[in-house]
């Protein structure tokens, strides 16, 4: 459990004059599920995007699997090891469900079409979408799209999965079907970092909850203590909005 997968030290990032991350230290261990919570604009998504190098940090260091990723030569190869799911699903609209899950396997991992299809069907089955393999990716519901997006990322067999508000664009019924899948992955021991507003999910599934506020980590801890007895006043205030949950 104490094998660090992600080690972030003193991470800083500004967009123009807006300082989004003001020196963040953050670690994730193997097989750990960490939920990042906090109000919009607190820097959660930026932190996540830095781990996948979609944003370039201004200062600090990020080590993933012991490797300083700000130095890696082959960024594409690195990204292939880290799965990411987005709020807007971002399925490739010119491909059907199956092809969405195959294309990167073929182009990046150079798998044969047959092998890629087997893998794709395996992971589509895992997220309960195999019967939709030949469906047009524009014609399925939001929850189904997100499940396909998860399968698409899993097909690369990443050692780390990043979720950027995966359920924020979904209605409550669809939220559930996506969370079922994510919970299953967590139970299988996949290392996951999840930016979310789903406090129920955080409480139930996370090994650790990290509360971010104004570009710094305000408080972190195991979900039980965090939700019942937060140390910081700001955390308490934020969580009070979710009492009915």
């Amino acid at each position: 459990m104490s094998n660090p997968v992600v080690e972030i030290k003193w991470l800083r990032k500004s967009f123009g004059t807006l300082e989004v991350l003001k020196g963040v230290d953050f670690n994730v261990n193997e097989s750990e599920v960490v939920c990042l919570i906090g109000s919009s604009g607190s820097g959660k998504s930026t932190l996540l995007r830095c781990i996948n190098l979609l944003e370039k940090p201004d200062d600090g260091s990020i080590h993933v699997f012991g490797q300083n990723i700000l130095d890696v030569k082959n960024v594409d190869q690195y990204r292939a090891n880290v799965g990411m799911c987005f709020q807007q699903f971002n399925l490739f609209k010119n491909m059907n469900v199956l092809k969405n899950c195959m294309i990167a396997q073929q182009k990046v991992l150079h798998r044969s079409a047959k092998e890629a299809e087997e893998k794709a069907r395996f992971y589509l089955r895992k997220v309960g979408m195999e019967q939709f393999a030949l469906a047009d990716s524009n014609m399925i519901s939001g929850g189904q799209k997100q499940r396909v997006a998860i399968a698409r990322a899993l097909c690369m067999e990443p050692k780390l999965m990043l979720f950027d508000e995966p359920t924020s664009a979904l209605d409550p019924e669809m939220v559930k079907e996506v969370l079922v899948v994510m919970k299953q992955l967590a139970e299988e021991g996949l290392t996951m970092i999840v930016v979310t507003h789903e406090m129920g999910f955080a409480r139930q599934v996370a090994d650790r909850v990290v509360f971010m506020d104004k570009g710094v980590i305000e408080e972190e801890g195991d979900p039980k203590t965090m939700f019942t007895n937060p140390k910081s006043e700001r955390t308490r205030e934020f969580l009070s909005h979710f009492q009915e949950d």
Partner: protein, 257 residues
Amino acid sequence: MQESFFRQVLDILQKYWPSMAIGIQNTLIISLTGTIIGLVIGLFVGGLRAIRLDYTASKSALIGKKILDFAGKVYIDVFRGTPMMVQAVFLYYALLNIVHWDKLGAGIFVISVNTGAYMAEIIRSGIQAVDPGQTEAARSLGMSNIQTMMNVVLPQAVRNAFPAIGNEFIVNIKDSSVLMIISIADLMFQSKSIAGSTFQFTATYGITAAIYFILTSTASLILNLIEKRLNRPRTSFPQSDTDPSSMSLATEKAGKS
């Protein structure tokens, strides 16, 4: 007067239809191949110009991209900013001693590079209509800029831009008439020689206009059919099934504690 006009038209058609047919054939060959090659050029130039290198790109890639972007911009500006008729005479004579081309080849070349400049801009706007999230998703899966462009962005850009691409074909059917300046036996050139030998200018060019109109309206009819087909959903899909309890792995309810 009225009767004699139709008589003239009929006479010309009867006597000169073989040379008109050659003209129609050449006009169609030039405008169709010119549009297709122009589209290929446009995909290449427009696609390259639309790639946004992020900070992870190497230094040499950044410099190479700058140079290509500049060359692309010059190409587009020059060919959109000068008349095709001028491009035709200039390129024909300028390159004549180097390539020794036949006239039809020269015509196709001119119309291709001219169309390419317009297509590059059409493709670029088609690319802008593809939401950047898909590019981000492809990159997050480890696909390179070029792989993302080829497999994800360009196919959608072509579909988005299909009406504008088709319109270029119609424009080319009409505008290829200026290529008679380098004596290509297109419809316009054939008409001119028919008019020159019959001295019946109104009747001859009346026929010419009618033929051009038939060509463009047929082309636009076909393009509309293709567009309808493109917009049809491509695959049937199974019964809607969003109930999580039907999912193979849903052994318990999640979400609420």
